[in-house]
Point group: C2
Chain length 316, copies 2
């Protein structure tokens, strides 16, 4: 039983019948109609030391990354973050650590205009839980909604964070290594891109578990298949230089933690989306197509290409 089955079995039934809940459990965030006005979007994420980040990761990076990961969920709904609460569990009071952690979190919150309004600090093994409340100016982006013939886009480059995990023990990093580590420690939440997709994309998700795993979520929610052309996966020069083409490709296709957006767009909206991304100076790439069927298929030219799925992140 993986996390998705577990949530489906035990926790989805706990969303009471409520016409104000436009989207409950099962997407990047919940969408709530708040007293007839605009939508409120809620997302929560827990990062546990030793599971989601290394025990010895710098406190500022833990703070920044925790914030960015959560803001990314809000971005994937086409919303913008407004308020956050922090549940911080720490083994003891280390003022230096707390100073750096709060600085890192503050950096990313300030960047996105998000206010920390509540928190609870408890003693225990290091873990960071954040709950974000965002707002959306229209119907939110969801995982369901892919249509036959939709083009599949991704933002940025893929696989960098997965590559960084291979370099954790390296003390001396070259420029490429530093670039990759920064991509892991400071993922960029694609809030402006997500907002610009409202009304133009049919489905959206943020890539936390890896492209393969997350496109599967889109397929399952939309009851469609997605065919990905692996030649088109956007790969950074740093990833390519450090690991070579084959490993870079595997990381891009299946490695998690990049927090880029994957979204599907009807061909008639593609030009508009490309223009807006250009205006936002946000790199986006067309990597595949939605088709009838189910599941994700990777192709290289006309050939079906099997890729190891092992690196898609699983909580259990």
């Amino acid at each position: 039983m993986n996390e998705f089955d577990l949530v489906k079995k035990f926790f989805e039934p706990m969303c009471l019948e409520n016409p104000d809940v436009l989207q409950g459990i099962g997407d990047d965030g919940a969408v709530i109609k708040w007293l007839g006005s605009s939508s409120l979007v809620v997302a929560t994420d827990t990062l546990v030391a030793g599971v989601h980040f290394p025990h010895d990761m710098e406190a500022a990076a833990i703070g920044y990354r925790s914030g960015a990961v959560n803001i990314s969920d809000i971005a994937a709904m086409g919303a913008f973050p407004k308020y956050a609460t922090l549940g911080l569990t720490i083994p003891g009071v280390d003022e230096q650590w707390l100073f750096q952690f709060s600085n890192g979190l503050n950096e990313v919150f300030s960047e996105f205009g998000c206010s920390l309004v509540g928190g609870d600090t408890t003693k225990g093994p290091l873990a960071v839980n954040l709950t974000l409340i965002g707002a959306a100016e229209g119907p939110c982006l969801k995982r369901c909604g892919c249509e036959d013939g939709d083009l599949v886009f991704v933002s940025g480059t893929l696989g960098d964070a997965r590559g960084a995990l291979e370099l954790l023990d390296s003390n001396e990093l070259n420029a490429s290594g530093k670039y990759l580590r920064n991509r892991f420690e400071k993922p960029e939440a694609r809030v402006r891109l997500g907002m610009s997709l409202l009304g133009h994309a049919n489905a959206c998700i943020d890539i936390s578990d890896g492209l393969l795993a997350d496109l599967k979520h889109l397929c399952d929610a939309s009851e469609k298949a997605i065919v990905v052309d692996i030649d088109k996966l956007p790969i950074s020069k740093s990833l390519l230089e450090t690991f070579g083409y084959e490993r870079a490709l595997t990381y891009a296709a299946t490695g998690g933690d990049d927090y880029e957006l994957a979204f599907t767009v009807s061909p008639r909206n593609a030009d508009h989306v490309l223009r807006v991304a250009d205006w936002l100076e946000q790199k986006i790439s067309i990597v595949g197509e939605v088709q009838e069927g189910s599941g994700v298929v990777f192709k290289e030219g006309q050939e079906r290409r099997e890729l190891l799925e092992t690196s898609g992140y699983r909580h259990f």
Copy 2:
């Protein structure tokens, strides 16, 4: 440095200048003006196994108690709970445990009409983080606002949960022991009472850390003193029978985990508050008075009475 200092130093500065944040960090919940309509109240709490509840506590009780503790924060603001997100950290997948835990949480959420709309399940040492979003039909109750001459009320009886902690290792409990254990495992969030106090009470807090510690929060926030008449502390028959008068009194005055409300009311509103509580079939008791000065003083008749403060709960 205790939790309160830590939050003040590192996290309070992270609430950006924002006129919509009516109450930021430093109360039981945050209060946000949501797009000109009614207030949104947000509270978060983390319960860690071995810190906030025993490792071997029954899963259903962990679920129920986690929900009730968080709903109590919403109640202390005079609001009612509407939506919740769950950050659950578990060492592994134990379906039986998850079934019972989700049943317990569902029981308390159903009782209060609260929908679970989001969650994140991660692997790690057992911890439960809940964030609740509530709504209030007017200006919320806060910790500040005590006025000279206010009567200090508490709901229910005090010290029962503290007593229950002494009985954790007992396998066979008599009726009183069972009553106390139930008070620990299933605290009753005083939502209806809290809502009825809007506009009538001057300050309110829920008693999580113990009466002494929590009244101190009211005093500090309001820059007033509170004098408590310990003869008037409401003590259950079960607590009295099990521990005798002196220990029962200490538990009532300083033991945490009861999640009753403590609130202050101007004498001219006292009759109204007593009548409403009677209508709600909610026991409330007048236990003291707000005065000029600072800090909490316990009195027995005319004598000042020193009570050990050790049992007031501290996170660090």
